[in-house]
């Protein structure tokens, strides 16, 4: 069974990581597109309508990829993690079913109207369709995060006679404090991806001296949203999320920092490779006492080390956890720097002519994807060895009846399929970028050339 556990984990990690490349962009873009549509109406500027139309195409391709790669996720709970589903279905079945009933119906109903209904809808009607798509995708995000939050910090449950658990308070489950902060942190991360991608494409067009007017809208929108959400990502959402980990998952915090001994005034390592066997850090560069301060707001606060916990309750992959956390935080800091400088240049009206800044914006767009992925790795590897924190260990969650051979078969199948999907995606998005936005036609309001005869 051990090997089946490893392949089950590999399959989930692979499919969820690939899947989340798409929703993080669509959730972010959904907000930015509503913003563009609002500007179009408020300023009565067809340039903004053209911008919304162009980004709707990119959104559409990503949305389809998100739907396609999302289908396997719900299935896997039952197929590969049957014991977990049996154990926790009475709790997380609620949030997953609500996602279907409240969010998926909403999204699917309005996406078609939004993508293909612009000509048949009024200005406000089309705005409303965009808003409903935004609402659906953000609701969907909430139900998924609430599901994960329950696995991170189980609340509002009661044991059943057969050893499984059952929801005991509906609102307690939905308003899990962990879920609220994780959601804010996660959605802010999605908007960062959306704004970096929008700014990057604008910068690309400006650098290649194409579609200048449209490109300026993209850069401006991307930088304004980027500076706001990069800061929100650190404070208060990231900061509070960190305190939640310190309070409810102290072993995870110790592993994220590779802190072995319980220390007063614990340092924060910026660089250094953990050596778990010898319980040291190679060539560390550290900020003294910073970890204690960031966690407890006191320079000499005591932070519990890994040695303070029983070995079977420590995260199983301390190295990966240590690095993914550092990648997330490090990149988050760099995002703030890039966006603050860009926003300053934008404010001084120099950004569109400052080619080095445009180069940086253009090349920066892959990094929010990496940071978001690293953040989720931190959350989920940090939760180990638990599937439901403190209640159900990961090795007790798999399907007993499914052999590792069958899981390998489907895992390899997913890998092949996703390779094809990735190639198709790049091919289609490249075409849209090549074709570029259609120029807004200022004369569109005037009647077209009168039909002869």
């Amino acid at each position: 069974m051990d090997s089946a556990l490893a392949v089950d984990r590999l399959q989930f990690a692979f499919t969820i990581t690939f899947h989340y490349l798409f929703p993080q962009l669509t959730m972010g873009l959904a907000l930015l597109i509503v913003w563009l549509k609002t500007q179009a109406i408020r300023r009565n500027d067809p340039q903004y309508d053209a911008a919304a139309r162009f980004w709707a195409k990119i959104f559409g391709i990503n949305f389809v990829l998100g739907v396609i790669t999302g289908i396997p996720m719900e299935f896997q709970f039952g197929t590969n993690w049957a014991r977990f589903s049996h154990y926790a279905g009475g709790v997380i079945g609620q949030t997953l079913a609500m996602e279907g009933v409240f969010a998926f119906f909403l999204e699917s109903a309005f996406l078609g109207l939004f993508l293909y209904g612009e000509k048949r809808l009024s200005k406000w009607g089309h705005w409303a369709a965009a808003f409903m798509v935004f609402l659906g995708s953000w609701l969907s995000g909430y139900f998924i995060v609430a599901t994960d939050a329950w696995m991170q910090h189980p609340v509002a449950y009661a044991p059943l006679g057969d050893g499984n658990v059952q929801v005991s308070s509906f609102w307690g489950l939905l308003l899990n404090p962990w879920a609220i902060w994780q959601y804010c942190h996660n959605m802010s991360g999605a908007v960062i991806t959306g704004s970096f991608v929008m700014a990057a494409l604008g910068a690309f067009y400006l650098l290649s001296r194409k579609h200048t007017e449209q490109a300026q809208i993209y850069v401006r929108t991307g930088v304004v949203a980027g500076v706001i959400f990069s800061i929100l990502q650190l404070f208060p959402t990231g900061d509070t999320q960190g305190k939640m980990v310190a309070r409810y998952q102290p072993a995870t915090l110790a592993a994220m920092e590779a802190l072995y001994d319980t220390t007063s005034g614990a340092p924060l390592h910026i660089i250094g490779q953990p050596d778990v066997e010898n319980k040291t850090i190679d060539n560390p560069i550290s900020l003294p006492k910073a970890l204690s301060f960031l966690t407890y707001k006191r320079w000499n606060a005591e932070v519990k080390g890994l040695n303070a916990f029983p070995p079977d309750q420590l995260p199983t992959n301390i190295d990966l956890l240590y690095y993914s956390y550092r990648i997330m935080v490090g990149l988050g800091t760099i995002f703030i720097a890039i966006m603050v400088v860009s926003a300053f240049l934008l404010w001084r009206k120099k950004l569109f002519a400052t080619r080095p800044a445009l180069w940086v914006l253009m090349l920066a767009f892959p990094f929010p994807y990496i940071a978001n992925t690293a953040g989720w790795i931190t959350a989920e590897v940090g939760r180990q060895p638990w599937l439901v924190y403190g209640l159900l260990r990961t090795e007790h969650g798999t399907s007993t009846m499914v052999s590792s051979g069958n899981v390998w078969f489907t895992t390899l199948g997913f890998m092949g399929m996703y390779t094809v999907l990735a190639l198709l995606f790049i091919f289609l998005v490249r075409r849209e970028i090549e074709a570029g936005p259609q120029a807004a036609n200022p004369g569109a309001a005037k009647p077209a050339v009168a039909a002869a005869g």
Binding site: F105, G112, V402
Partner: protein, 348 residues
């Protein structure tokens, strides 16, 4: 409360079959009713705005099953491991076929995605039928309520079940032709010109196949699992179900002959609904029968969630479904009428 959730899950699955059924059917007939690019686009246009929403009924029904009957979800999803993952792959392939086709106007490109759409729709219909066949025939559940079936063993209905045996293959064929007929009725209603003519023609002879297979499957079901008649003996009102099934088939023929496409389509929906109602009526209160030891069968009593979860679930479920039905009514009305595809038009 348990019975109510049994009915809710059955209703959601029936809604899924009726709604996604017509776009699966359209996919099955894609090559047979539409030959030119414009005709193919007309087929895709007729389902384009709604197919994704139709498919959500499957995900919503799955989620509802998950929280109302967790052990059933765990047992059936891990037991039907391979066919379910293949269903996932086909759902993915189908979405690619529909959504990627229109990006490039190139014959090779569009034909590739047309084929993907057709083949995954056809295989999905067969798999769904086979899945229902497995549920009616029963699976080798152990005392923990778990099982695992390979894709096939010796194709006999016996102790060593595979997913596919002669009975479930028959069920797959019923689903294939029933959904093809449903799709033909849909296309007859939503398109015009050549596509409509061919769809009506197909509906004409698919009808005979469906009547024949329906009778065959009824006989086979009673032969494979005589227990299906128990509920009918206790509640004779159940015998109305097969009556409605055959009445709806006859009505469909009648409307078809009079070119009342919409009424024919609705009769088809009634046919599908009552085929499924008949199966659910026969199974109740069992959700997944054991083919080896009836004591191991999963029933609503041994897999249900707690009373609190079901009560609170009912509140939000009713609210959510009312809103969802509202979207669907709006969407189908917004895109009502026959689709017209012109050269150079955007979209599908």
């Amino acid at each position: 409360m348990l019975t109510l959730w049994f009915i809710i899950v059955a209703l959601m699955l029936a809604t899924y079959v009726i709604l996604d059924g017509f776009d699966l059917g359209a996919g099955i007939l894609h090559f047979c009713v539409a030959r030119t690019d414009n005709e193919r686009r007309a087929v895709l246009h007729s389902i384009g705005p709604v197919w994704d929403g139709n498919e959500v009924w499957l995900l919503a029904a799955g989620g509802t099953l998950y929280f109302a009957f967790p052990l059933l979800y765990a047992s059936s999803f891990s037991g039907f491991y391979l066919p379910l993952i293949m269903v996932v792959w086909m759902l993915m392939g189908r979405a690619m076929g529909i959504e990627f086709r229109h990006h490039i106007r190139n014959e090779v490109w569009t034909q590739l995605f047309d084929f993907l759409f057709m083949i995954s729709s056809a295989l999905l219909a067969i798999f769904y039928g086979a899945a229902l066949g497995n549920v009616i025939r029963g699976v080798p559940l152990d005392q923990n309520g778990l099982f695992f079936e390979p894709l096939w063993t010796n194709f006999r209905v016996g102790a060593q079940n595979g997913i596919l045996d002669w009975y479930t293959v028959l069920a797959g064929l019923v689903a294939f032709f029933a959904l093809a007929l449903h799709g033909a009725n849909w296309l007859a209603m939503k398109t015009d010109g050549e596509v409509r003519r061919r769809a009506r023609h197909t509906a004409g002879f698919a009808w005979y196949a469906v009547v024949l297979l329906t009778i065959l499957s009824l006989v086979a079901t009673i032969w494979v699992r005589p227990g299906v008649l128990d509920n009918y003996r206790v509640y004779p009102v159940g015998y109305l179900i097969p009556v409605v099934v055959f009445a709806s088939l006859l009505l469909m023929r009648w409307f078809h002959a009079r070119e009342r496409d919409c009424s024919a389509f609705l009769s088809g929906a009634v046919y599908l609904a009552f085929m499924l109602v008949g199966a659910a009526f026969a199974l109740y209160p069992v959700l997944l029968p054991s083919s080896t030891n009836p004591a191991n069968s999963l029933t609503i009593y041994n897999v249900g969630s707690s009373a609190y979860g079901m009560k609170v679930g009912l509140v939000w479920w009713i609210l959510g479904i009312l809103i969802a039905v509202g979207y669907f009514v709006f969407l189908f009305r917004f895109f009502r009428g026959r689709v017209h595809v012109e050269e150079g038009q955007e979209g599908y």
